[in-house]
Symmetry: C2
Subunit: 251 residues, 2 copies
Amino acid sequence: MGGAGEPVVDLATIQLSCKQCSLAELCLPRGLAPNEVEELEKAVTPRRPLPRGASLYRPGDRFASLFAVKSGTLKSMITTADGEEQIVGFHMPGELLGLDGLNTQRHTCTAMALERSTVCELPFVQIEEICRRQPALQREMCSLLGKEINEEQAMLLLLAKRTAEERLASFLVSLSQRYRRRGYSDTEFNLSMSRHDIANYLGLAPETISRLFSRFADEGLLSVDRRYVRIHALDRLRAMVEGSVGVDLLG
Amino acid sequence: MGGAGEPVVDLATIQLSCKQCSLAELCLPRGLAPNEVEELEKAVTPRRPLPRGASLYRPGDRFASLFAVKSGTLKSMITTADGEEQIVGFHMPGELLGLDGLNTQRHTCTAMALERSTVCELPFVQIEEICRRQPALQREMCSLLGKEINEEQAMLLLLAKRTAEERLASFLVSLSQRYRRRGYSDTEFNLSMSRHDIANYLGLAPETISRLFSRFADEGLLSVDRRYVRIHALDRLRAMVEGSVGVDLLG
DNA sequence: CGTACGGTTGACACGACTCAATGGCAGTGG
DNA sequence: CCACTGCCATTGAGTCGTGTCAACCGTACG
């Protein structure tokens, strides 16, 4: 295998290059010097794509690695004893997941692909090792963990204090910003999650999400066709979440 | 100042001893070897007590240190543009706070004493430095950050899915466990926070908290006198939060 | 072509909020 | 020492937002 001119690459031997990755400024290497990125690269191991619905890890799985989304979208959710689920985050390209395993060395969440997705695996012992030698990465990791905490706190406020309307508006504004940062349109995009997932994430009933989409459309804020959303008045959506924290936290 | 036999100690020169601290097994030194604790101790700087209502830090303050509660209780809250507040956590002795500043090097929360409280200050640059040399502390810090994330995720579920009754039960069970771990009764204690604070934290109205306390008392679950709570049926309270995550997360 | 699932819409119910009045404790000043 | 005065807490009455239940539709997929 691996003869000259063969287009198929051997997944076990190639190294993913962070330097060449278009997501580098969004991902862990953000803010690292070239030589530091090189060191980080060595730790990155490739992984075969996850089909829609596949789990990257499940509750109880041994925590060994963090994962950076390379393409696609994933959701993280916690599960209660009686099988109820709560989505605690959606992960877009360049975003890290797996932090839920840091405490007990076992994952508490399920990470599931919402569509065919690829991720980079970052073995945690190696991350730790590099952190000891490269203060810049140590800083970056801390910043990242702090961001996760800040975002979840902003989410607590959203769930504790905001109306259904404000929650959906906030969700859309957040998606919009995240798409923009990735070079996509911030006013038209395809949702990779179902109404059910959105509802679950926002602590609402799926029917409420449907009704709100219809109302937003009636009010000229946006138009929806299935999962395709076109935002017509991003400023008015923003105005609805005025006073919310978390919108400009996505550092 | 500081003459022989003078009982007043100089706050600027004494070193707090983590080894002798009764909270050591709950706090950062948990799981560290004696020589590692010694090193950590050197970084700890004393701080004068905070009177009730005083802030340890406010949003926008430069992040320079983490704080460990030595006595008393504090609350952390985020504030929206229009002055609304959301309490995101209560901090009891042995617990760390300040993690909200890790992302941007500026605090996003207000940390306020609910009663006269003392804290140990841990300058963050020193923590980072020791982490590089002492993998055990590095691990402990990661575990701690992971725990914070896990707990906030459990809180997201509580706010998104649980009824008012379940939220208050969950809150009381959590308090009960935390008191027990600190050597206090897990069935009788004084709440250090007002009904208003509890309501804010749980995403409810203060009136709802009052009504629930009355109902819980009617049902023989507990008795309340002002802020003094006696739990009569901890098992039944636990049963009400069955299926909730987060109860046994407080590693 | 059939079936299943995701999404939309309507009718209704109910949990929690709001508004309002009252009570009681604690801290303050006379 | 006692009255004053907030603030916190309790309780009731009424409202409203959102959930629940149910029917229907369209699309995607087998």
